[in-house]
Symmetry: C2
Subunit: 370 residues, 2 copies
C-alpha cells in the first residue's frame, strides 16, 4: 500500500476513528485502526465491538492495500508531523513507513484479517435531522443516564419516532430528561434504546452546524449515523424501556418563573459548602414572589433570596443541588418555569410547548430542617 494525504485531513479523520478505539481491551487488534486503500478511496476504520466508525480521508492511492496499525501510536505520529503531505507506505511484512518532509517513522503494523469489520446493515428505516439538532438533543439529555452497568437500560436513551416527532428520553432513577423535536418529514414509528456512550462519542464528531445533515438508520439491533464522510454504527440496548407516561402529570399546586442564570449561580455558590460524596440537600422556601435557598453543612451555612414570579401555594422543598444544576445548565432559555405539587412529589422544569421536560425527585428534608 502507498498513499499520500495532507497532514490535517489525515489528522481530522484519525481523531474521528479514535472515538471507537477502546482504552482497555483483551483483543489487541481492537487497539488498531484499519487503513483501507483497496478500492479507490482511503478509508479509516475502528471498532470497539459496541461502536464502529468508518471515515473517508481525502488523498491519493499510489498502490492499493490495507493494513492494521496501532491507533494511539499512529495518531500521535500524525499529530506531531509538520503541516504538509504525508506518505504512508507498507511492505509485505506489514512494516509501515510514514514520511513527511524530512521526517521518517517506521512502525510495525498487522494483517487486517482478524479485524472485526463493520457488518452491512439494511438501510430502510431512517430519519434525517440537522447535525446541530442532534448534538443539542444529546447534550440536553445525556447527563441523566445512569453509569451503573448493572441496569443496562438506564445507560441508554430512548429514541421514539412518531410521524414527524422525535422524542428522546433518559433517566437514572432520580430524574427524567425529555426532549421533543419536530422533524421535517413523516416517518414510520420507531422505538429504540441507544447506548449513552455512543451518543457521547457521536456528539463529539458532529459538526454542530444547522446546515449539515445527519441520517439515522435503524434496524432491530443497530443504529447507524451517516454524515459528512463518516459512518458510525452502534449496537442498540435490548429490552423494554421504562413506562414513564403516568409520572408526567400536568397537575401542580405551585408554579414559579425564575431567572435561570441567577438560580444557577445561587445553587452553584451553595454547593461549595458541600464536600464531594456528602449528600446535603439544598432547601428551597417559596413564598410570594420570593425564593429563599438555604444550605447547612459542616463547613458552614448559606442562604440567599431570589425574586420570582409565583402562582399557587407556598412550599418548602429539598433537592439534590447537582440535579438542579445539570438541568439548568443545558436549558438555553433566560427564564424557566418550575411546577411543584408537594414536598414529596417531583418538580418539573419545562417550557410551554414541552420541547424539554426535566423531572427531578425531591429529597426528604424533615431531618434537615433546623
Amino acid at each position: 500500500m502507498k498513499i499520500i494525504c495532507q497532514k490535517n485531513d489525515l489528522l481530522n479523520s484519525v481523531n474521528i476513528v479514535l472515538k471507537a478505539i477502546p482504552s482497555r481491551t483483551t483483543m489487541p487488534i481492537l487497539e488498531c485502526l484499519i487503513i483501507d486503500a483497496k478500492s479507490g478511496v482511503i478509508k479509516l476504520i475502528s471498532n470497539d465491538m459496541e461502536l464502529g466508525i468508518e471515515t473517508i480521508v481525502k488523498g491519493n492511492i499510489l498502490e492499493n492495500g490495507i493494513i492494521a496499525i496501532n491507533a494511539k501510536v499512529f495518531s500521535e505520529i500524525i499529530r506531531k508531523l509538520p503541516d504538509n503531505e504525508v506518505t504512508i507506505e507498507t511492505d509485505s511484512n506489514y512494516k509501515a513507513t510514514i514520511t513527511c518532509e524530512k521526517a521518517n517513522f517506521n512502525i510495525s503494523g498487522k494483517a487486517s484479517e482478524e479485524f472485526p469489520f463493520l457488518p452491512n446493515i439494511q438501510k430502510d428505516k431512517n430519519i434525517t435531522i440537522s447535525q446541530f439538532s442532534l448534538k443539542e438533543i444529546i447534550r440536553q439529555t445525556v447527563f441523566s443516564i445512569s453509569d451503573n452497568e448493572s441496569n443496562k437500560i438506564m445507560t441508554g436513551e430512548l429514541f421514539e419516532i412518531n410521524e414527524d416527532e422525535l422524542k428522546v428520553t433518559s433517566l437514572d432513577g432520580h430524574r427524567i430528561s425529555i426532549r421533543n423535536i419536530k422533524l421535517k418529514d413523516n416517518y414510520d414509528n420507531i422505538k429504540v434504546i441507544v447506548p449513552g456512550k455512543t451518543l457521547n462519542e457521536v456528539s463529539k464528531i458532529l459538526s454542530g452546524e444547522i446546515s449539515d445533515q445527519v441520517n439515522l438508520f435503524f434496524t432491530d439491533k443497530h443504529i447507524l449515523f451517516e454524515f459528512d464522510d463518516t459512518v458510525v454504527l452502534s449496537r442498540l440496548i435490548e429490552g423494554e424501556f421504562y413506562k414513564i407516561s403516568q409520572m408526567l402529570s400536568n397537575d401542580y399546586e405551585t408554579k414559579l418563573t425564575i431567572n435561570k442564570k441567577e438560580f444557577l449561580s445561587c445553587i452553584d455558590r451553595a454547593t461549595l459548602l458541600i464536600k464531594e460524596n456528602e449528600k446535603k440537600p439544598i432547601i428551597i422556601n417559596i413564598t410570594d414572589n420570593n425564593m429563599e435557598l438555604k444550605i447547612n453543612s459542616n463547613i458552614g451555612s448559606m442562604n440567599e433570596d431570589i425574586d420570582i414570579k409565583k402562582e399557587g401555594k407556598d412550599i418548602l422543598i429539598g433537592f439534590n443541588p447537582r440535579f438542579l444544576i445539570d438541568a439548568l445548565k443545558v436549558i438555553d432559555d433566560e427564564e424557566v418555569d418550575i411546577y411543584l405539587f408537594n414536598p414529596k412529589a417531583p418538580c418539573f422544569i419545562k417550557d410551554k410547548e414541552e420541547t424539554y421536560i426535566y423531572l427531578i425527585l425531591p429529597v426528604n428534608i424533615n431531618a434537615n430542617i433546623n
Copy 2:
C-alpha cells in the same frame, strides 16, 4: 471586625496568599489565612513556614479586628460571589458572615493568636529589577532544579550579585542552567540559595510587566520580595552551592547553528516513540551542514535531517531528549548555537554574550548504536 471590599480586589489578593497555603500540614492553623484589619489597612497573610505572604486589599474598615479563616473555603466563597461589594463581619466567637448582594454565608473562623506571623527582617541589602526580568529568569532556569529533597542544595537556585550583575544558576546533576543579567545599579556582593518552590510561587504572582519593579532584600536566612501591594518572605537554603566554574569550558571541537523551532519540533516528534520512564537517548549525527536525529524504541524508529551551519569536526553524540527540550523551550532566540567537544563531554547551548548558558551531559550511546 467589619470590612467592605470589591469582590474582584478581594479575589485577586486571596489568590496571591493562597500560594503559601500548604496542601497538607499537621498544623491546622496554617490552612488559614489571616484577615488583619487592626491598623488602618486590610491585610491578608499566609505562611507555610517556608514561605510567607502578606498583601494589602483595597477596601473600607468599618470596625477594626483580625481573624484566621480557612483559606480554601474562604477563597471558594469569594470566587463564586457576584461581582459586587462584599461585606465581611466577625463576632466575638469568631463566626464570620460574608454578604454580597442577597447571598449570605456563615463560616467559623479562629483566633489569630496561634498563627505564625512573618518576622520583621532587616532591610539593608537589596536589589531592584523589573518584574518582567525576574519572571523570565525564573522561567529560564527553574526547570533544571532537582526535586529530590535528599539533596537540599539542588532544590534551590544560586543567586549571585556582583556589582551590576545578577547570575542565577540551577543544576540537577545532569545539566546546569545559567542566566546572567545586567542590573541598573551597583550592589554589594551577595550569594544565596533560594528554594525553587519559592521562585515558582513568586513567579506566579509577578505581573511580568517591564514597567513594574520588584525589590529583593537579603539577610543570612531570608529573601524578601517586595512588589505592588505584596511582600513574599522565604527562608534561604543553607549550605555551600556547587563549584561549577571548572565545568564551564570555552573549548569546543564542533560548533553548530540551528533553527530552534525546527530542532525542537524534531525532538518532540522523536520522543513520542518513547514511553514514560523509558530511558532512550536521541542520537545526533552531525556532518557537514546536516544534523541527523535518530531514535529507536520498542514502538518503532524515527530519523530526520535538519539543515545546520557547522564549524569543526563531525560528531556522533546521544542525549536525553527531555533535557534538550527543556532548554530549547525557554530560549527566545530563533537560532541557537551549540558547542560540542566529544561524545563524552557536555554540550553547551549558549548565546555569544552568555546571557544564557545551558550545559547538558551526553548519554553513552555505544550500547545504543545499531
